[in-house]
């Protein structure tokens, strides 16, 4: 189960970097995420509507296979917060199921919004932004992070599986995968240190998907209307 969820999250974040959906303008993604968080702060119903809209966007962005794993991951903090809320309410006179459900869905929606935002980030776009902000030599860092994270995650999953076979605790898999990553960081520096030192002569070329950007803008406007009039 853990392997499956990790696999799906990893798929959502690191595969298909070149998909059109991930080429939505970053400002559109930021405004949409911000509006979802505003809806979460407004109440239970607004959160539910924002959640439905996000799922529709995920389907449209061809992230369908990641909906369930994202819901599972997001439900962890949602369950935690709603259960603590239920316990507090119980000791203060009685559980109000509507309030508990509200906490659950609002946390779930906020967590999903953050996951979707991260899943929609494009390292090449981030690199351009970093370059244009004047940090020319750091502009390769986002690209490198997206390159290396799958390798690191693969190590974590493999180490976890082996420690499980050896009937050892999960902590030992964290220790060995960390040791492996430290070792790899030396290799990475050896191979790429000079490239990072040299930096890019101009920002990476990048083409936005205006179709997806417009859809995000429309979705954001729907949320604005909802938050104003619902």
């Amino acid at each position: 189960m853990l392997g499956w969820i990790t696999g799906k999250i990893y798929e959502a974040l690191f595969t298909d970097v070149e998909s059109d959906a991930k080429k939505t303008h970053i400002l559109a993604k930021i405004f949409f995420t911000a509006m979802v968080l505003v809806c979460v702060s407004l109440g239970f119903h607004q959160s539910l509507l924002a959640l439905a809209l996000m799922i529709a966007l995920m389907v449209f962005s061809r992230l369908t296979s990641t909906i369930i794993p994202s819901l599972i991951v997001s439900s962890i903090p949602a369950l935690w917060l709603s259960a603590s809320n239920a316990i507090l309410l119980y000791y203060n006179g009685g559980v109000n199921y509507y309030v508990v459900l509200g906490v659950f869905f609002r946390t779930l929606t906020a967590s999903m919004a953050i996951l979707l935002f991260i899943a929609m980030l494009n390292p090449y776009e981030l690199s351009r932004i970093v370059y244009k902000l004047g940090a020319r030599k750091s502009s390769l860092i986002p690209v490198m992070v997206w390159r290396l994270m799958p390798l690191a995650l693969r190590d974590v999953v493999e180490a976890y599986g082996i420690q499980k076979l050896k009937k050892q605790s999960l902590w030992k898999s964290i220790a060995v995968s960390t040791a492996s990553m430290l070792e790899k960081s030396d290799f990475i520096l050896e191979s790429n240190g000079l490239k990072l030192e040299a930096g890019l002569v101009e920002p990476l070329p990048y083409k936005y998907s205006w179709k997806h950007t417009i859809i995000y803008v429309v979705a954001t406007l729907i949320l604005v209307v909802l938050s104003l009039f619902y």
Binding site: F14, A159, G161, L194, E202
Partner: protein, 437 residues
């Protein structure tokens, strides 16, 4: 005589107080291929690091002597000039790739030196057979594709000196043939190539010169003749006993596997058996599903269809053996969870690792880690040992030691299943399962 591109005079190098290279001198011209050959610890990688300009810069070490690349010392060159002139591909080629996609990697390398030129990017992708892979995430590339991408990326930077550290380690036979072809093409185009490799015969027809190192000293430099090859291309494997196979411990029946989200089966209706007291060799090209099969046998992956029946306790030793360990030192790894400490004592001697016992695993070599991982597996009560690429990247001496360890395990009655490209496996395998892509 062609123009001297790389010149090395009286070079010594090392790490801290340890001297790894001592008094090395050679030179190379345009369009020449030098093979550096020698056992573990002979200083091959250190020499490449010095030439690549990373020694003392990104690798904590020192060097003295004269090095000239196009007549200039690498320490006098700025980073941009070095990466424009030199392509350095380390022993673990995956870490040389910076970008998450194939096309992105070529573009990034172009932009390290010059402005974006789409037609040049397309040209390089086409020339190295990467056009169809341009949107592919780089972490899904096979070892052969990774090597090709690295050559293409260095080519677009205009590099004319190639320093390749064991480029054939992770390649299958076909991949090695393609690699030699590509390197020969670079040489024909005028590039100067220095290759470190343990597979002498692979480079025999392409190399111009050979440099043999032994514990940091230069033993030979020049153009080797046939007699030299005859003297140096042999290997010897401990004579294996005729093993009587035990009982069937693994039965794979009509097995299919496809990764979630993929439509293609990596494994298609495979059936075979593996016995105790025997070695089963799983061979096949890169991407044929060898690692996947091992993971299914030990239960890390579930078959899509078919079944695997396992009689006994299986364990998996991955290609990166560091991920196998649970304790920081070899002694703790072997003794803390052993079922019978006297068995560990016996195996420690048999596998010749007693001198390593108090060493932290982080400071062990790849070959040592693999031997320790096999002993650790044998002493924890596992009777089916699945080992992934146990000899990749090892020199002949270490390869033979690991092979010896596998033979020992089979002779002790264990079921040994090995996924490997190494042709030496043929000498020790009791049965062979060949996967096709």
């Amino acid at each position: 005589m062609s123009r001297r591109i790389v010149e090395v005079e009286r070079l010594s190098a090392g790490y801290g107080r340890t001297i790894v290279l001592d008094n090395i001198s050679f030179s190379l011209g345009e369009g020449e291929l030098l093979l550096i050959y020698g056992g573990s610890g002979s200083g091959k990688t250190t020499l490449l690091r010095v030439l690549a300009g990373v020694m003392g810069r990104y690798v904590n070490g020192w060097y003295k002597g004269i090095i000239r690349i196009h007549g200039k010392s690498p320490s006098m060159l700025d980073s941009k000039t070095i990466i424009r002139l030199i392509a350095y591909v380390s022993q673990e080629p995956w870490y040389g790739i910076l970008s998450p996609t194939v096309e992105g990697e070529v573009i990034v390398n172009q932009l390290l030196i010059k402005k974006y030129d789409e037609s040049e990017v397309n040209g390089v992708l086409g020339k190295y057979g990467l056009s169809g892979l341009r949107k592919r995430p780089t972490y899904t590339l096979s070892s052969g594709e990774t090597q090709r991408l690295l050559i293409a990326s260095n080519r677009i930077r205009g590099a004319s000196i190639y320093l390749l550290d064991e480029p054939s380690s992770y390649l299958d036979i076909e991949g090695r043939r393609v690699l030699v072809e590509e390197i020969s093409r670079l040489v024909d185009e005028g590039s100067t190539v220095i290759v470190v490799d343990h597979y002498l015969d692979l480079w025999r027809d392409s190399l111009s010169k050979i440099l043999v190192l032994d514990y940091g000293r230069q033993v030979f430099f020049g153009d080797p003749d046939d007699r030299w090859f005859r003297q140096n291309s042999f290997y010897r494997i401990r004579e294996t006993k005729d093993r009587d196979k035990g009982s069937v411990s693994v039965e794979v029946n009509k097995l299919y596997y496809r990764y979630p989200g993929s439509r293609i089966h990596v494994i298609n209706g495979l059936s075979f058996k593996a016995w105790s007291s025997s070695i089963t060799w799983i061979k096949g090209p890169n991407g044929a599903g060898k690692t996947t099969l091992l993971k299914i046998i030990v239960g890390l992956l579930k078959p899509s269809k078919g079944y695997v029946s396992v009689k006994g306790n299986p364990i998996y030793v991955p290609e990166n053996p560091l991920l196998f360990f649970s304790e920081p030192t070899i002694r703790e790894e072997l003794y803390n969870n052993a079922l019978d400490k006297s068995v560990v004592d016996e195996l420690v001697d048999k596998f010749k690792i007693r001198h390593l016992l108090d060493r932290r695993l982080r400071y062990t070599s790849s070959g040592e880690r693999r031997r320790v991982a096999i002993v650790s597996a044998l002493t924890r009560g596992y009777d089916i040992i699945c080992v992934d690429e146990p000899t990749a990247g090892l020199d002949l001496d270490n390869r033979l030691k690991v092979i010896d360890a596998l033979v020992n395990a089979a002779e002790e009655g264990y079921t040994v299943i090995v996924a490997s490209h190494d042709p030496l496996m043929e000498e020790i395998a009791d049965n062979i399962v060949e996967l096709v892509k």
